[in-house]
Amino acid sequence: MHPAPSIIAFTVLSGLGFGLLGFLGLGKPDVSGFTAFVFFFIGFGLAISGLISSTFHLGNPQRALKAFSQWRTSWLSREGWLSVATLIVMGIYAIGIIFFHTRFAILGILGALLCLATVFATSMIYTQIKTVPRWNHWSTPVLFLLYSITGGALLSGQVWIAEPLFLLLGAAQLVFWMFGDNLFADSGSNMGTATGLGSLGKVRLFEGPHSGGNYLTREMVHVVGRKHAVKLRVISVFCLALLPWAIFTFFNFGHAWALLAVILHLIGAFVSRWLFFAQAEHTVGLYYGAR
């Protein structure tokens, strides 16, 4: 699949933002006044900029409000509703903390649950796509939630929980990468079933429908950059998990070190999300003799 920058930014930034808002909803850290304002500003800023960047992927963003109508069947629509509900609940909660030094605990817990639900809905947009076997697996929501909670723990300064989460996230990401590499083959779809000619013999593409590219090949048969996948996986896991973990374990905790950990974690998350798209193989590739 084409790793569109708008969607990578959407999933990474909104995941981080909702992760941070979730921790703030639980009162971790228990701040108020201007400090709380800074925390909530970062949380809302990440979540909202992620949501806005998702609209850059649309062909007709001026009609984006229509996307709220089909929540009965569409995970994209559900994600829209949940993100708006989360922002409203957390907004009221934030106003209480920042301006009135009052923490509405129940509202905060509700907001934290909505944060998780929003990230889950985001992950289901991809998980539901049966045509991409690598995504169509329970590990996708698990990973999206792990990314969000780990990033949230990091940004909210909850080092005691961030440290084990870094190791868990790094390990889970590695395991699911290796696992995911076999999912397309296991799905049972191949050029034989795609053309229905598999019972006659071995099928290969003799001639494509046209000599150039088209929307389908650009959007869903993206193979550029896959050859560096292994190196990128290593870079990602180091930046995402191992280096931030080492910073908190071996160096004194301070704002400069924490900022470095956040930047490394962000780089790792972006690389990993790039791979999430670039390595996703769509069944339509079978009609083009590619994966």
Binding site: G59, K66, Q70, T193, G196, G201, L205, F206, T283
Partner: protein, 247 residues
């Protein structure tokens, strides 16, 4: 509404005969011709006369080679367009309700004034039947020429999809696949019509007729008499052969 109907009154669709298709791409051209100036936004091209032309098509013809375990390989031309699936995954993922499956005839359509161009339906389709128009930013797909098949302004013989009407080989057939007595249903039963990627669970309405088995080369009764007579070269050629062998 993106909830799929539990059943449709008709299942209009295409039956494509892979035995007959000659790969001339006439259906591709007639499809583009009709649909660029009728239902919905035109099918735009980008850089049409440049070095890297690209454009929106609702129907494309791929060519495959099938190599059986023994015997010669076979070339099969393979037209592909929307299969108007009963369990259309493209419809349920649509966030705006722009994609829908019609209860009256089962045709899957896009209401372009509601489409935000998110592309999720194209991701959900296993077959690559939907293409985002790069100029309009809306999703385009085969309409089964819904503006031809019910169009009383057209002569009756033209009230079928443009691709079917134009096919010079008679490789494309249009009809109600929900009606067991229809010509297309009989054709599918007779020829063992197949679904593409049944493992995806989409229940496509369109069917493909597999190529008929090739004839085995007939045994020629005179063939034994045409065996080469002289196994060993004699005379000058024999001497040459032996001499060259020694070198």
């Amino acid at each position: 509404m993106t909830q799929l109907p539990t059943s449709t009154e008709k299942k209009l669709g295409l039956v494509i005969d892979l035995d007959t298709c000659v790969g001339c791409h006439a259906c591709v051209v007639s499809c583009k011709g009709w649909n660029t100036e009728n239902y919905g936004a035109p099918l735009s091209d980008q850089n049409a006369y440049g070095a890297d032309p690209t454009g929106t098509f609702l129907n494309r013809v791929h060519s495959f080679e099938v190599q059986p375990e023994r015997g010669a390989a076979q070339t099969i031309h393979f037209p592909k367009s929307c299969l108007h699936c009963e369990d259309a995954p493209c419809v349920t993922v649509c966030p705006t309700g722009a994609s829908y499956k019609r209860v009256e005839d089962g045709i899957v359509l896009v209401n372009e004034t509601d489409c935000i161009g998110c592309g999720l339906c194209a991701w959900a389709c296993p077959y690559g039947a939907r293409e985002m128009d790069q100029k309009e930013g809306v999703m385009k797909k085969c309409t089964l020429c819904v503006d031809r098949i019910y169009n009383e302004n057209l002569p009756e013989e033209d009230r079928q999809p443009a691709c079917v009407r134009t096919c010079p080989a008679g490789a494309r057939h249009f009809g109600d696949l929900g009606d067991e007595t229809s010509d297309v249903s009989k054709l599918v039963a007779e020829r063992g019509g197949i679904d593409l990627m049944p493992e995806q669970g989409t229940k496509p309405v369109n069917k493909y007729l597999p190529p008929r088995p090739k004839d085995e080369a007939a045994i020629d009764v005179l063939a034994p008499f045409l065996e080469p007579v002289a196994e060993e070269a004699t005379g000058f050629l024999g001497w040459l052969d032996r001499t060259l062998e020694k070198l």
